[in-house]
């Protein structure tokens, strides 16, 4: 589940990934996130959070659903 997406830079920048324990992975310097189905999602924020729990309703982006997954 967690390794099925890829973050790519179109400018040869080194993409920086920061996993947050129990939460999403923060992605910096990427231009595109390719989800598990191979669909490319443009990155339009300086930093984005990619869902790693699989429960987000806005995949590939985190919508904080992991909080309810973890707690209840």
């Amino acid at each position: 589940m967690t390794d099925s997406w890829r973050a790519l830079s179109l400018r040869d920048e080194e993409v920086r990934l920061t996993p947050c324990p129990g939460g999403p992975t923060l992605v910096r310097r990427a231009d595109v996130v390719v989800d598990e189905d191979g669909t490319a999602h443009p990155v339009d924020r300086p930093v984005v959070a990619v869902c790693t729990c699989g429960k987000s309703q806005r995949k590939p982006w985190c919508d904080s659903t992991h909080k309810s997954v973890r707690r209840r």
């Binding site: 920061t18 947050c20 939460g23 999403p24 923060l26 339009d44 924020r45 300086p46 930093v47 984005v48 959070a49 806005r58 982006w61 985190c62 919508d63 904080s64 659903t65 909080k67 309810s68």
Partner: protein, 332 residues
């Protein structure tokens, strides 16, 4: 913006001062609820506003020593009351872990109250949703401005992370995506007034306090840790509620543009909560260990005032207050 209507002796005195009329600040009544009082918090809000957009036709008193002294008188009462009410939570968080992220998350669980967002999602009338949007406009039309005061007061990786978060809040180079502008669009689409401060006269004391705490923490270098704690608590408690509020807005049939502001914040704040907890607060405490207690104070202060405000708002709605006046205003 015009000066708001005074609500008692303190705000009357500040009102007069900002119009350059002579007078003294009356003593704060010992019985006053310093965390929610209408008069005290309107007075303080006006004094803080001098550091933001200011008031039409008033002299420049932003750094006037007498005016600053009045602000200090009121804000030191506010800060003392906030510290008193949050100390036990902060001590508890300090005792349960050495990790800032764990401590913040502990506070978010511990300082809990009724969910305004759940009420808006499921039960609120269209008029109550409009009331909520109008009252919230006091902050969202200057979204992130209070926390921006901290940028020159911290350094290194925490500064870079705060700048990154603020860049997103400020539209990432696109003025039409400024979050304050998105909120203005949301108000306009709902038939509300998008002008800055348009609804201040109907914002209750408890919600003025929610606004004032951000200025208190943002305007004092001494309180930079608490300001970042506040930002973090705000972001951590935003993403899921925003999804609920958007659903409520759609349920009562308000336009998509109005819901869009909250949809934007589901994603944005899911990012910001992680950045604020880990890359700002934890990194700041690593660089300046003495700030740990104040970071947690800021977290607890944000959460506590939000709980007070949500309780008061839900109680007012249960009693049927407030909504009719706004409905008249929207219709006129």
């Amino acid at each position: 913006m015009q000066l708001p209507r005074p609500r008692g002796p303190l705000s009357e005195a500040v009102h007069a001062r900002l119009e350059c009329r002579p007078g003294e600040l009356p003593p704060v009544d010992a019985e006053v609820d310093v965390l929610a009082d209408d008069d005290l918090h309107l007075a303080l809000w006006m004094l803080y506003e001098l550091h933001y957009r200011g008031f039409d036709g008033c002299a420049d008193l932003e750094w006037d020593p007498g005016t600053i002294a009045w602000r200090h008188e009121l804000e030191s009462r506010f800060e003392s009351a906030l510290r008193a009410v949050t100390t036990s939570y902060v001590e508890e968080a300090l005792g349960m872990s050495d990790d800032v992220v764990d401590q913040v998350q502990h506070l978010v669980e511990a300082v809990d109250g009724p969910s305004l967002a759940a009420f808006l999602q499921r039960e609120a009338t269209r008029e109550q949703v409009l009331e909520f949007l109008a009252v919230r406009s006091l902050y969202h039309l200057k979204e992130s401005d209070p926390h921006s005061f901290v940028l020159p007061r911290i350094d290194g990786p925490a500064k870079a992370a705060l700048a990154e978060l603020l860049y997103d809040e400020y539209g990432a180079g696109r003025p039409e995506r400024l979050h304050a502008t998105l909120y203005g669009d949301a108000l306009e689409a709902a038939g509300l007034d998008r002008r800055y401060g348009a609804y201040v006269d109907r914002v209750p004391g408890h919600t003025l306090a929610v606004n004032n705490v951000m200025s208190l923490l943002g305007l004092h270098r001494r309180l930079r840790g608490a300001a970042m704690g506040h930002l973090t608590a705000f972001e951590v408690t935003s993403s899921v509620p925003c999804r609920r509020i958007a659903a409520g807005i759609e349920r009562v049939g308000l336009p998509d543009v109005t819901a869009a502001y909250f949809h934007e914040h589901v994603e944005a704040d899911a990012v910001h909560e992680q950045v604020a907890m880990r890359d700002i607060c934890a990194v700041l405490v690593q660089a300046e260990p003495d700030l740990r207690r104040d970071v947690l104070f800021g977290v607890a202060a944000c959460l506590h005032l939000d709980v007070l405000s949500a309780k008061a708002q839900l109680a007012a709605w249960a009693a049927g207050d407030g909504v009719d006046r706004l409905a008249e205003k929207v219709a006129s």
